[in-house]
């Protein structure tokens, strides 16, 4: 705030020169002796009333002191100088009764150097600003610079209108020195220059009106309109940007709320991610996404999440363009992304840009940090579950940088301390690593290499073990031309594999594996041919190679029949174009088309079946054999994107959107939440790809100082959803079409959100009402699920409420809290008991006919920053958090179990008590370097 206030002061001072001097009293009047020895607060109050004095204090507060009025002929300035000068404050007054108290630097009573000082010209203040001055009768304390035109030179000195030379110095405000390498960009000409080591610049321009944009890395950008008449000088002082980049980014998100055509869009920065309390102090992007409207999960610890009533396999995860197929560690308890490396994430759940495709419900796009080009830095942390460290720095200064992060659990020893032998013999290890290289090849070419690795090794007692591995890499090249257009080319590779070993039955001990390879090439072009059009176009191709794996004997004693589930291959290519067209200042239209061409490739043998009958071994009519890379089946699909934004006023808009998407890969699952060993499967000869449509309508409002509000309603439908038949045999189900049915998913809902993205007190609150249901009833073949009746999705939570708050008590002390409520998920309960052979057995209700109890939780965290000493080696942060403060035993599941002939019902809670944790984070350097 320091410099912001300073610039206000400077601005105010400047305005004194043209303002009408009506209220000039306090500066001349004497301070009454009655005010001797009062506190500063009293003094301020009294003089404001009796002398009409106004005080502007640079730092906001003054040290505690008592005012000494030693005679009755002292002015306010005299009195304050007497008290404050010795502690380094300067007091300057004007004729309006305003007193400016600054520390260190003294304000000038004339135009300060480095502001609009012109040797051969005078400045003009725009009419509106003049009006404002007079009307208010006092100083305008807006921090926004009203556009003004600065006249430089004299038309008489350049009657031939030759090119003029404009020169000047750019300096940082206050006592900061020259700004080196700052840019001066001329908007109208799309050219510019940069300052030299002295902050000096020069420009040769034809006389005329220009908009100059002054900016540098460490300063706040400033736009200045000039009317250049002849050679002249324009010095510029830029406010230092003391804030870290992250806050600037949030500001850009602010505009999205009302003005963008984006709907169902959330972007959160690393800062926000870091401030929200999470279980066991383990920062987690997915857990934070669950606090956004329309995002739910089946239960605590379920892997993946559900966006607007869609199954988890309809979400796509990208980290730097690299798809991640297994997003969680330890069966879903932690997400597989190292929080230190994450810069921000964006969740598209409403209008998904045309450049993304292949998933019906959402795109979760994670951007990682770019390594510092200037100096080495490192950070890390220790939580009860993991330890992590991240390092970054230049390889070639200003040219090439690296960033590397690694995280690993040491949970094994926790398990080993447990007395229970079954747990003591269990092992749970997970870890992940990220490596990135960024190269600024030149002004217009950038290259980013990115690599990702995550691993889980879990051994349960001595009978079952799992191993999950996710690796990915991407090469991203971006080329900007003419500062308007940019081309992004990326080549992406991703590999997800798992292995499961099961030795519960010695004679049938088995091992099974699975692997999914994803290779992708993207060429994406952003064009801005005209001022009011933004065109995004490109092509993308994905080659999927699935090894559905083997189910084979684990050892010699095992007599399991080896089954090869076979391999699959498919190519999904797409070409897309979208245009965001600002028809008028109030209406923006976005239209996009994406054509997907999906080809299921050989080698493969596929069955054909009798028409209009269930696909089963008995209805096979023919077997078709295909050779390597021979197209087996091609599905073409046209995606639509359409959205419109009507800006009702600068702070209010209405948006509508329609999307159609296609999805060619899905998760084979029949468990309540995704299970660790669920496998991805490609659309094939007999299983059709999924198609989804979503309509949404929203109202957006920015109000108050910093509040953003929105209401979004949506209706969506997905066709060809794949569901397992009741009682399908999953272990050895090789021919998938025998065991699945395809149905429709319907979802609708309304989401209310109010967000205060910044300020000392920030956060958001949202409420969603949502429904989601599935219908599987093939009337042609007579096959159905749940007797052909519609049933609620496993993850339907009609009411959800999330409150996320952050309060910065001081720069070192931050409090944050969450409050979460959601309706219980649907569940199939036993509806009756009956006896078979003397044993009680359960007769279940219709699918998802009942609900588990509602969910409610409060979390709190206190973040304690280390000291703010300016020069130190490292900075530490302690985060104390309590998860589930009320200790409510939230139901994770309710189940029934027949024990010795008696049926018992149990409710299980995962976090049935308060979970306290301490996390220590550190970084080299200071607070917010």
């Amino acid at each position: 705030m320091k410099n912001r206030n300073l610039s206000i002061l400077i601005f105010l001072l400047l305005s004194q020169f043209i303002s009408v001097n009506i209220f000039g009293q306090a500066s001349q009047k004497f301070v009454p002796l009655t005010l001797n020895n009062v506190t500063w607060t009293e003094f301020k109050h009294e003089t404001a009333i009796s002398l009409n004095a106004r005080y502007y204090i640079q730092t906001g507060t003054l040290p505690y002191f008592r005012v000494k009025v030693k005679s009755d002929s002292l002015t306010v300035e005299d009195v304050l100088t007497e008290s404050l000068e010795k502690v380094g404050y300067k007091i300057v007054s004007d004729n309006n009764g305003s007193f400016f108290i600054t520390k260190g630097i003294s304000l000038k009573t004339q135009l300060p150097i480095g502001f609009f000082a012109m040797q051969t010209s005078v400045s003009e203040i725009s009419e509106t600003q003049k009006d404002q001055k007079v009307r208010d009768g006092k100083l305008v304390t807006s921090s926004v610079y009203v556009a003004k035109t600065i006249v430089i030179g004299d038309v008489k000195l350049n009657p031939q209108k030759r090119k003029c030379l404009l020169t000047g110095y750019v300096t940082g405000s206050g006592d900061a020195g020259p700004i080196i390498g700052g840019t001066i960009y001329i908007d109208e000409l799309e050219t510019g220059t940069a300052t030299d080591e002295n902050g000096y610049y020069q420009l040769k321009l034809l006389p005329g009106k220009y908009t100059l944009v002054f900016k540098s890395l460490e300063s706040i950008e400033r736009n200045v309109k000039i009317n250049l008449l002849s050679d002249g000088k324009l010095d510029m002082s830029l406010d230092q940007n003391l804030y870290v980049l992250q806050e600037v980014e949030i500001r850009s998100a602010q505009e999205h709320n009302v003005r963008s055509t984006q709907m169902g869009f959330n972007k959160l920065s690393a800062k926000t991610i870091n401030e929200i309390p999470v279980v066991l102090g383990e920062k987690d992007v997915i857990k934070i996404a669950l606090l956004l409207p329309g995002v739910t999960s089946v239960g605590e610890g379920a892997s993946g999440f559900n966006v607007r009533g869609s199954p988890a396999d309809q979400n796509m995860f990208f980290v730097e363009n690299t798809p991640v197929y297994n997003t969680s560690h330890l069966f879903g308890f932690f997400s597989a992304f190292n929080p230190d490396v994450i810069d921000n994430f964006t969740l598209y759940k409403g209008s998904i840009p045309a450049k993304f495709g292949g998933r019906l419900s959402s795109i979760f796009d994670i951007s990682t940090k770019t390594g510092s080009m200037d100096k080495f830095s490192a950070r890390g942390g220790i939580s009860p579950i993991t330890a992590r460290v991240m390092a970054e720095g230049p390889i070639v200064k200003k040219k090439i940088s690296y960033i590397a992060g690694i995280r690993s659990t040491y949970s094994d020893w926790v398990l080993r301390m447990v007395k229970d032998p079954e747990i003591r013999n269990s092992k749970a290890y997970f870890g992940d690593a990220v490596l990135g290289f960024d190269a600024n090849i030149n002004e217009s070419n950038k290259l980013k290499l990115f690599g990702y690795y995550s691993e889980d090794r879990i051994k349960l007692s001595n009978s079952t073990s799992y191993q999950f591995k996710n690796q990915g890499a991407s090469v991203n090249w971006s080329h900007g031309f003419r500062n308007k257009h940019d081309l992004n080319v990326s080549f992406v590779f991703s590999d997800y594999e798992f292995e499961e070993e099961n030795s519960e039955l010695t004679f049938a001990a088995y091992k099974q594996n699975y692997r999914l390879l994803h290779n992708q090439l993207n060429v994406d072009l952003n064009l801005q041919p005209f001022e009011n059009h933004t065109i995004n176009t490109g092509v993308s191709g994905v080659l999927y190679r699935l090894d559905r794996g083997w189910h084979k004997p684990l050892n010699d004693q095992s007599g399991v029949l080896p089954i090869d589930f076979g391999k699959e291959k498919a190519l999904e290519s797409a070409v897309y174009v979208s245009d965001s067209w600002k028809i008028s200042p109030l209406i923006t239209l976005l239209g996009g088309l994406r054509y997907n061409l999906y080809t299921y490739l050989g080698p493969q043998s596929v069955y054909t079946y009798m028409p209009n009958s269930p696909m089963s071994p008995t209805t096979i009519t023919d077997t078709l054999n295909f050779g390597n890379n021979q197209p087996i089946k091609t599905y073409g699909g046209l995606d639509y994107r359409f959205s419109v934004n009507f800006l009702l006023n600068p702070n209010m808009s209405i948006k509508a959107a329609y999307n159609r998407l296609h999805q060619y890969i899905f998760m084979l699952t029949n468990t309540i939440a995704l299970s660790p060993s669920d496998k991805w499967k490609l659309a094939d000869y007999n299983i059709k790809p999924m198609v989804g449509d979503q309509f949404s309508l929203g109202y957006y409002l920015n109000f108050g100082k910093d509040f953003e509000g929105s209401v979004e309603a949506y209706y969506k439908k997905a066709h060809n959803l794949v569901e397992y038949k009741d009682g399908a045999d999953l272990v050895t189900s090789k021919i998938v079409e025998w065991d699945v049915l395809q149905g429709d998913l319907d979802a609708y809902g309304i989401e209310f959100m109010i967000k205060k993205p910044f300020g000392r007190f920030n956060g958001w609150v949202n409420y969603s009402y949502a429904h989601s249901s599935v219908l599987v009833n093939n009337t042609t073949t007579g096959e159905n699920i749940n007797f052909g009746q519609r049933y609620p999705s496993n993850f339907e939570h009609p009411h959800t409420f999330n409150l996320v708050t952050n309060f910065k008590a001081s720069r070192r002390l931050i409090f944050s809290g969450n409050l979460i409520f959601s309706s219980g998920r649907p569940i199939t309960y036993p509806a009756a008991i009956y006896y078979l052979d003397g044993e009680k057995v359960l007769h279940y209700s219709k699918r998802n006919e009942y609900r588990i109890p509602n969910y409610f939780r409060i979390d709190l965290a206190v973040k304690l920053e280390g000291n703010l000493v300016s020069k130190k080696l490292a900075h530490g942060v302690f985060i104390f958090s309590v998860y589930n403060l009320t200790g409510r035993k939230n139901a994770y599941s309710v189940y029934f179990k027949s024990e010795n002939g008696i049926v018992n019902a149990y409710k299980m809670s995962i976090f049935g008590t308060q979970i306290f944790s301490i996390t220590y984070d550190f970084k080299l350097g200071n607070y917010d370097d």
């Binding site: 926790v414 007395k419 199939t828 509806a831 699918r847 019902a905 299980m908």
Partner: protein
Amino acid sequence: MTTRVSILFVIVVFFSSCVEKYWPKVDEYADVIVIDGLLTNVIEQTEVNLSYSSSVNVGQLNPLSNGIVYIEDNNQVKFSFVESSPGKYIPEDALFQGVIGNSYQLFVELPGNNTYQSDICILLEPEPLDSVFGVEETRVVPNRYLPQNGIQFYLNNHTNYSDTVYYLWRLSHTYKYQASFDIDYTWEGDFYLNPVPDTFRNCWRTSKILEIFTYTTKYLQQPVLNRFPLNFVSTDGRELTIRYSLLVSQFTVSKPTFDFWDILRQQNINLSNLYAQQPFQIKGNIKNVNNEDDVVLGYFTVAGATNKRIYINRPSIPFNYPICEPDYTSMRWIIYEPPSTWPIYLTQDQNTGAIGMGAMESCFDCRLDGGELTPPDFWEN
């Protein structure tokens, strides 16, 4: 199954989760007819049980009497059943046994003019049951510090059948056990010496093991089951204290029959963590002829059966079953015991001669724990 339990274990410990009893409000489903039929090639194994389902919270058996039950084979020969006890119907011909290779259909006529009939089921060839044996094992029990000792029973079998075999096992056990004390004296206003102190000391108890066991050779290269786990009997009870006998009935059934029981098994042990399969209403093979939409629970199981019985004596592993302690201190109050409590059984310490009471009558009378004083006919000492 164990995998899921283990996942749960890890979760429980890792995240201090908890499990508590909880009865959700489940709207009572209308009483549904349950027809539970079994027909095998073994004498006295064929029976049909008729009942109504009950609500989950009550869970009692509601027998259905006065039904007309008969079966018909593929030669249109009809075999009538009689109700031997409420809801239990057995063949009129006590020596009835199914014929391997024949097909059977079950018919049930109930008051209200409702006729139920099953699908036609073939009685498959029984498969050999090579061996049943017990192995001393310890196992971990949730919420218990010490592991449990006991005997895990296994079976080995093989088949010469070339196609997939679907197995179902039903288990019943019989064990000899003792009450804690001999009755040395009785108190009936005075002390009387009991001439036969062990009158109520030794009992034999037979009961079904209420667990469903299924397996199929579908997943195996060689259709050989080696150490297929059956029941576990812990030393927390008295089953293994003297002599224990396990009867294993191995049923060879058709695929639909197997599927029914296998799903039922999975749903009954379903721990319902989130990786559990979605439960659903299982359809049996019996329908109401008068109303096809009527829900009928239960199954008519036709199976080729092989029985095997084994015996084991008390194993030399630690036992942990509750034993009565003689109560000597209360003896002084015995004269105040009202006559309605007479006779009071008393035990005498062999060494000290001290006479003591027991906390419960079952400390002296083993019948009160469900057994009978005479061994069953098949019992081998």
